[in-house]
């Protein structure tokens, strides 16, 4: 049986963007604080101080449970009853806690004050606090703030808010110079791969946001073009555009097609010839195809549903359908920014069941009646669904695993193949 009919089934012109169902109800998602779990590992000289409640601390601890044995570069300033009595006191308290953190970690160069639901509701002015503390630690520590409250951010939007807060700090790119900025947290190994590819293409100066050290912020200016490496960075994109940078419209670098489209977008600005582009990317594409082939056999023809969670649903669904031959039953996403998803939506089937927002009970009802071969969901839902006989993939793994780029295309497919392979193996 040959199920490898996985060449792109439709070109952009043939395909109308799918319609959208909006849903409201109970949302089963993390708030933006969860982003700290990967951001604090990426930016090695930064510390994230959440100003919030015991719930915030508990969420971070639970979401970061796997990393409990590393010294965290995050902490929570837990609001107590007496803090809620008067705001003046709250600012003093925050100064004291910040001092405690910086004393304990003298290696820290950037301190993020991270707003939460309770700090938003009591209208604690973290912007002012960051200004004040920046003054106190001038020359030693940069103090920034952003809100990752569940009232305003869903899961990966926390990263958007964090990167957005860095944008005004970026130095100015001297006029007349050009640069390409890749925006969104990528594992170091993937960053290095992209850096090599762009170097071979002759594209650059190349920078990444966030940088590995917050003290080495990339420059931005009207000569900057930027590519989003993650699909959830709308606010950061707008802020960069406001500083004169040019957003390159592209698919996201998942799978061969996505990575090609993404790289090509950057290469076009530097007027790289088609021949050169082909020459540089061909070996990596061939490797990626080899990596994918093993998993296509497992995945082709299998049905998949996405519950809304990481905001990565649309590009990954596109990859699984077009490159792995999977059938998309439902693709739900917490929110849809059509501007950022333009290239992706064009690649999705016009009759796709695309959902924005969530009513978890309704979605689970649909899941039970659809009975897909695999569904993508949050950690809270995975085991209960497994117990109902459905195979699952935790969405949080998609933000922790290197999945972008050619050399990770096979790994990305493997994430979805593994539960199916395991299902076939087990006799218990």
């Amino acid at each position: 049986m040959n199920l490898l009919g996985t060449q792109p089934q439709a070109s952009i012109e043939e395909c109308a963007a799918p319609g959208l169902n909006r849903e409201r109800g109970q949302r089963q998602v993390f708030c933006g604080l969860a982003g700290i779990v990967w951001l604090h590992r990426k930016i090695q000289d930064a510390f994230f101080l959440v100003v919030g409640s015991r719930t915030c601390a508990h969420l971070l601890q639970s979401a970061a449970g796997v990393m409990i044995f590393a010294e965290p570069r995050f902490a929570t300033a837990i609001l107590q009853e007496r803090d809620l009595a008067g705001l003046a006191d709250c600012n003093q308290e925050l100064d004291r806690v910040a001092a405690e953190v910086l004393q304990r970690r003298p290696d820290i160069r950037t301190l993020f004050l991270v707003g939460s639901c309770p700090s938003e509701v009591i209208k604690l002015d973290l912007a002012k606090a960051a200004e004040r503390l920046s003054e106190v630690y001038r020359g030693r520590v940069r103090v920034l703030e952003y809100s990752a409250s569940g009232l305003e951010t869903t899961f990966t939007q926390g990263e958007d808010a964090c990167l957005r807060s860095l944008v005004p700090e970026l130095p100015l790119l001297p006029s007349g110079e050009r640069s390409l900025l890749v925006v969104g947290t990528l594992p170091d190994v993937v960053e290095d791969q992209f850096a090599r590819l762009f170097a071979e293409l002759g594209v650059g100066r190349l920078n990444f946001l966030p940088p590995r050290q917050a003290s080495e912020l990339p420059p931005v200016g009207s000569g900057t073009s930027f590519l989003l490496a993650q699909p959830f960075l709308g606010e950061t994109a707008r802020a960069l555009q406001a500083r004169g940078a040019n957003r390159l419209s592209a698919p996201y670098p998942f799978g061969v097609e996505g990575t090609l489209g993404w790289l090509r977008s950057g290469a076009a600005v530097w007027e790289v010839s088609d021949a050169r582009f082909e020459e540089v990317t061909a070996p990596a594409v061939a490797r990626a195809e080899r990596g994918l082939n093993r998993h296509r056999e497992v995945l082709a023809g299998k049905r998949i549903s996405f519950l809304p969670d990481s905001q990565l649903e649309i590009p990954i669904a596109r990859f699984l359908q077009r490159e792995c031959g999977m059938e998309l039953v439902e693709v739900a996403t917490p929110f849809l920014d059509r501007r950022l998803m333009e290239a992706e939506l064009a690649w999705l089937p016009a009759d796709l069941r695309l959902t924005e927002g969530q009513d978890v009970e309704q979605q689970l009802d649909r899941l039970r009646s659809d009975r897909p071969d695999i569904c993508v969901c949050g950690l809270g839902l995975a085991n209960p669904l497994e117990a109902e006989g459905l195979r699952t993939k935790w969405s949080i793994e998609l933000v922790f695993t290197p999945i972008q780029g050619f050399d990770q295309a096979g790994d990305l497919a493997e994430l979805f193949a593994r539960p199916l392979v395991r299902e076939a193996l087990l006799r218990v």
Partner: protein, 525 residues
């Protein structure tokens, strides 16, 4: 504001969830912002539960704050009732909802639902998880049973002469430490002395089960952190005595049986100990003599901390060098126990403070929670986990109770295995020049790679600030440094620290071989 890196307890609404998740037929509606649903994963991932927690969240967002969140509360309650048809509905709120003051409890009570609706007060900025669980369990029992409280002066129930006495096991809960297996072990233990278990709650109980609580002769407060308020109320209202001894350890298990005997009139003292009670003999076996006087630091919830201290001191012959708890509500018990063992009690929920105290006490074994496991790992000290907060590893597939005689066996194994074994310790002392007995060698029974980082020299680099900042700089004479290397690596760090402390106290600036042996004599047990 309190700076928190890791916390021992979640907010009080997590405690309420633990009660709801433990039970059947109970549903909790939480007024909480988007994101608070993370709590589900505690149960489905850490405990590997195959069912979603019976909890519905309002998950309000910023745009709803301007509008009518109260309406959202009512819709959520109505939907949850219709979908899950619970027999009891609990209503609570998380930290953010508490600030916007929608009074979800009052809203729910006004909805005329045909089942008992219990509003919970869970002060998120003052209380914590265990308090929330304790309060929720109490409110649930009180709410369901208050209309059945007998009139004062009535005759308590007398059991027929041929009837076995019946006990309720109160306190085991979801996310509790080894509750699942403790219930099995205690049921078996009680059966062996002729006592029947009537209701186990909250774990696995239905609201109807709670209604049967007064039918039993007495209650066993198995986990005071969860059940002491409920037991106290039942004692006052239904004249049910409470057995309060927590049967963790051999001695405590014997005391527990004696207390059960007093309450029921059964002679438990003449019952032979079961054949599977191996811990007393294992501890008396000559192999265990090497355990004598091992320095142990204990930090846990109050119940497990106090029990561990007694086991350590009386049943294994360890020396308790630190004892503490994060459970302020039960600090008194720990203070009292600390007095018995002559140590300063440590009552704190500040992980950093615990870390500092462990580091100062130079223990050879840490008994703690997952947090202390982290601390011990960093300090290179063996550690066993004895209490919540829990980790997925604290829900082993095998039977591994902490309570009763089998619990004592399990404890013997789990505490002893991380330590160097007796004969191995002697061999290393005899053949200290052996090239394989170096700083990075791990105890052989742990296998290769088991202790990467475990046995590293606990020397200067892991010392607290106090030593580094000390005014007198003590230096080691080369021959003293050589002599130090002849001391087995696993005690070398302690020897180094003790000698330096000794030298500092006497104002000695250069440590010689003499100083080393003087210090050994000074600190020797």
């Amino acid at each position: 504001m309190q700076l928190t890196l890791w916390s021992y307890e979640g907010p009080p609404h997590i405690g309420a969830m633990r009660i709801a998740v433990s039970m059947e037929g109970v549903h909790l509606v939480l007024h909480a912002p988007q994101g608070d649903t993370y709590a589900d994963l505690l149960f489905t991932m850490i405990e590997r539960r195959g069912r979603r927690p019976p909890v519905s969240y309002t998950t309000f967002k910023a745009r709803e704050l301007g509008g009518d969140t109260a309406e959202l509360v009512k819709t959520t309650i109505q939907d949850a009732y219709e979908r899950f048809v619970p027999r009891v509905l609990l209503i609570g709120e998380s930290c953010t909802a508490e600030l916007i003051q929608d009074q979800p409890g009052a809203l729910a009570s006004g909805m005329g639902l045909p089942v008992p609706v219990l509003p919970l007060e869970l002060p998120a900025y003052a209380r914590k998880e265990n308090w929330g669980a304790n309060e929720t369990f109490y409110q649930l029992i009180r709410g369901l049973l208050k209309s059945r409280v007998p009139a004062p002066g009535g005759e308590p129930r007398r059991r027929a002469p041929d009837e076995r006495p019946r006990a309720n096991l109160l306190g085991p809960s979801a996310l509790g430490f080894r509750c699942r297996d403790d219930v099995v072990e205690i049921t078996r233990l009680l059966d062996s002395v002729g006592v029947e278990v009537s209701v186990v709650a909250p774990l696995g109980a239905t609201p109807e089960d709670l209604l049967r609580i007064p039918e039993a002769d007495f209650n066993i407060c198995l986990y005071p952190e969860i059940a002491d308020q409920a037991c106290h109320w039942l004692e006052r209202m239904f004249a049910q005595p409470t057995v309060k001894t927590v049967p963790i350890g051999v001695g405590a298990t014997r005391d527990f049986l004696a207390e059960v005997g007093r309450v029921t009139g059964i002679d438990t003292a003449t019952k032979a100990e079961p054949s599977w009670s191996r811990m007393p003999w294992y501890s008396r076996s000559v192999d265990s003599t090497y355990l004598t006087g091992k320095r142990v630091f204990i930090f846990a919830d109050a119940t497990h901390a106090v029990a561990a201290a007694r086991i350590a001191a009386e049943e294994l012959g360890f020396r308790v060098v630190g004892l503490g708890t994060y459970a302020r509500e039960f600090a008194r018990d720990v203070r009292q126990a600390a007095k018995t063992y002559g140590v300063e009690p440590l009552i704190t929920d500040d992980y950093l403070e615990v870390e500092a105290r462990v580091s100062e006490a130079h223990p050879e074994l840490v008994l703690g929670t997952q947090m202390e496991r982290n601390i011990a790992k960093r300090l290179g000290i063996p550690c066993a986990v004895i209490s919540a907060p829990v980790h997925i590893q604290d829900f082993p597939a095998r039977y591994a109770p902490q309570m009763g005689f089998e619990g004592a066996n399990v404890i013997f194994d789990t505490w002893i295995h991380p330590l160097m074994m007796g004969l191995e310790e002697h061999l290393i002392t005899m053949f200290r020049e052996d090239f394989e007995f170096h700083d990075h060698a791990t105890p052989s029974h742990l296998g290769p790679g088991a202790g990467s980082g475990r046995s590293r020299d606990m020397g200067l680099e892991s010392l607290g600030e106090g030593v580094r900042n000390s005014e007198i700089v003590t230096a080691w004479a080369p021959e003293a440094e050589q002599e130090l290397k002849k001391i087995p690596f696993f005690v070398r760090g302690k020897a180094r620290r003790n000698t330096e402390r000794f030298a500092r106290e006497l104002g000695i600036q250069t440590i010689t071989v003499e100083t080393l042996y003087d210090a050994k004599a000074h600190f020797g047990r």
